[in-house]
Symmetry: C2
Subunit: 145 residues, 2 copies
DNA sequence: TACAATTAGATTGTGCACAATTTAATATAG
DNA sequence: CTATATTAAATTGTGCACAATCTAATTGTA
């Protein structure tokens, strides 16, 4: 079969386009705070559980250290986090929120919450989508190994 | 409210993670052909409708010329497409598949189709997801203006 | 105790993706 | 006919995201 669906009928493109659009919406809401969307995801992980290693943050966000290290350095330079070597095991770098980083939570979360309020997604729809997307992600990850 | 859901309960992260995982699955399948996932999306657009301007491709893929021009140059250097200035209106660059570019369709499409076969998504689920993701994309785009 | 294997993070190189600006071409107004 | 406005694409700068490799530290084994 050489006939294929047009791109807008393919799930891969729907995901690609939607992900870009969500990232743009977040970027617009977060720009006034001087942080990017991926940086917001790191901060979110730390607001949920402070003082974690690069590896732990990487596991939650599904990002490797090649991506995380430069981002964490920028967050540190901007004063949102502090990085430090773990004394018992100096291979490990731990990341901790500064006061400024903790203080950002309320305003940033409110700001991005507006994105979802304006979308007016039904709570059931939200959860079904969430579950289905995580399901696809997990299955693809299984296929890697 | 300062309590927030953990990231894995937020739709923005489900989209982010799923999109990355789908991109990775496509990258693995496409690497043997020497093309990247975003390049595949451009080729897909052209397989569906050859000979289009950069603007037209940009509209379908929701990408601007700053992203498209370097990618199209790489696709041209690799022999998949030809770019040419439109004689009636020399502001416009038209992109056309080469024989090699056309010939890639069957193998590339089969290769990536395997991703979805292995996922075993119900056809209804696929369509519901597609529709919902496009709906979110459109609403976010409306919010921009 | 010494050495090999493994682990954690950092670095390097590359390909996007976006925003802002520039360049070149066309359309429009006076 | 000329000047201005608009359009299409290209360029520049920046921030990811990934793969591969390197560096430093820790663990395991003989």
């Amino acid at each position: 079969m050489t006939e294929t669906l047009p791109l807008n009928q393919q799930l891969c493109f729907a995901l690609y386009a939607c992900s870009k659009e969500v990232a743009k919406a977040y970027r617009d809401k977060l720009a006034p705070f001087g942080i990017t969307y991926p940086q917001y995801l790191i901060l979110s992980a730390l607001w949920d559980q402070d003082y974690r290693s690069v590896t732990e943050i990487g596991q939650e966000l599904q990002l490797d250290s090649g991506t995380l290290t430069p981002m964490l350095k920028r967050l540190e330079e901007a004063g949102w986090v502090i990085r430090s070597r773990h004394k018992p095991d100096e291979r490990r770098v731990y990341v901790e929120l500064t006061d400024k980083g903790s203080a950002l939570k309320y305003d940033a979360v409110c700001s991005v919450a507006a994105i979802w309020s304006e979308l007016n997604l039904n709570e059931d729809t939200y959860h079904v989508l969430l579950t289905q997307l995580h399901g696809i992600t997990k299955q693809l990850q299984k296929g890697d190994k």
